[in-house]
Every structure is written in structure tokens, then in C-alpha cells.
Subunit: 153 residues, 2 copies
Amino acid sequence: MAGSSPAMTRMMESTWTLHPQLALDTAPAGDLPLARVLLANDANYPWLILVPRKPGLVELIDLEENEQVQLLGEIANAARALKNITKCDKLNIAALGNQVPQLHVHVIARRRHDAAWPKPVWGAAAASSYDPVARERFLTTLRSGLQIQALRD
Amino acid sequence: MAGSSPAMTRMMESTWTLHPQLALDTAPAGDLPLARVLLANDANYPWLILVPRKPGLVELIDLEENEQVQLLGEIANAARALKNITKCDKLNIAALGNQVPQLHVHVIARRRHDAAWPKPVWGAAAASSYDPVARERFLTTLRSGLQIQALRD
């Protein structure tokens, strides 16, 4: 599962912007070769969102086949890192996009005693605010696990 | 995205059985090289479930990397077929498994006027029974789109 070339990355990103609703609902962890990794602003669940940095995507099948494979590899990396960090009971992985059309993939660590278990997380419980220090600590651990760096402003 | 060899398929299937809850909630459409394709018993949404025919799987990342890529290809094929057949507004693709632990992937055709829109489908509306003739017609169209055959008893 090869990464994108720097030239390809620059070309992709020249016209891509994160959907404002996703920006509002998350904090950026950093960039994998194809996808930006975001942490959802909900301390109920360790909840990542991966957004391929290519404009105009709505469905998974809008990606070229090699990009789908790249995204799959990044989803798997994020899932493994999240599982290693959280020791969760179950991973939930989903591309829904009924409300925010920009293609994004949820990778969520679930625990048998979390706020929504065994239901899916969407709409199940009011979002819980992160303690800022706990969130920064989690982001640091996550960046280490995914070998990514904080985005520069 | 190569298929499994017949020998590998036989070996996998020798110990794999479909989880009884999935069997209860669906009708079989047929087998792709890795995954069994099921149609959920809920006429509210054209709703496929793909189940890799390999025993002991819980998470997507329990699959070997080449099997993950194979499953992704089958998910993409199922998603394209479902979109072509239903002309849906959005695809929802998800591996949750909080209630049924056997790895299974939902591929759901969503419409802006369906019973749950814009919410996810799980728990949103009581399942609606298929008219048996409409269900058989949909399964036939689906088998044609996916180039799969009805399972033999």
C-alpha cells in the first residue's frame, strides 16, 4: 500500500479544503499520505475521522482503485493504533456521509460500558467535552502511534 | 484485486458458518470470492451485508492485508451494483459488529425520503417486510449485477 508522491500530494491539496462542519466537530491530529486524521470533539469515545485530501469526493467508490486501497491501508493503520492505545472492546468503522457530504470515514473505539453501547454512536448520547490536557495527551499518543506530526497553522 | 483460489475457498469454508443472527435477519444473494452477500430483511432500504467466509473474524484488521484488499474490492463492487440498481442518493458502508461479533460489512442504499434519513439506519425505524415477489426480483437483479449465483441448498 504505497504512499502518494510529494508532487501528487501537493496537487491534491491545492484545491482540497476540509468541510467546515468537520473542522468544527474535530481537532486535527495530522496527515497520513492520503487522509487527514481528525479527532472528534466527543470524549465519550476515542473517535477518529479520516478525510482523503482530494477534492470532490462523496462516496468511497469515487476514489480510483489504487486510492481506495491506500485509504484502506490508512483506515487499518488508524484502527490498529486506536486499538493499541485504547485497548477497546470493538472497533466501529463507517463511511456514512448523510449529513456532511465530503467523504470521511469514522474509526471509533467502542467499550462495553460506553455512552451508546451496543448501539452505534451517532445520535445516541450528547457529545461530552474533552479535558484539554487529556485531549492533547491523546493526540500526542496518537501521532506517535501513526507516525504523523501536528499540522502547522 | 485477485480472487481466492478454489482450494483456498474450500479450506476457508470448511470451518466457516454464518452467524445465526445474520442468517435470521437476511436472505442470501450469493458468494463473491471472499464474502457471502446477504440481503437484509428490511424493505425500508436496499441493504446488503457482506460476510467474509473465513472463521474467527471479528475486526476488519483481523484479515490479512491481501484479504482486506480483496474485501474492499468486493465492497466496492457491491456498492457500485447497489447504486446502479437503486439510483440511491447516498451509500452507507459500515463495519460495526457491536451486537453480532462475526465480521460483517453493511452496504446500504440511502434515499433522501427513506425511513431514517438523514440518520443512520440502525435502530431508526422498525423493519419493513419485503413483498416476496419484489424481494426475489431484487435478488435476481442483484445477482446479475454482481455476477453471482443463488446458493444451492
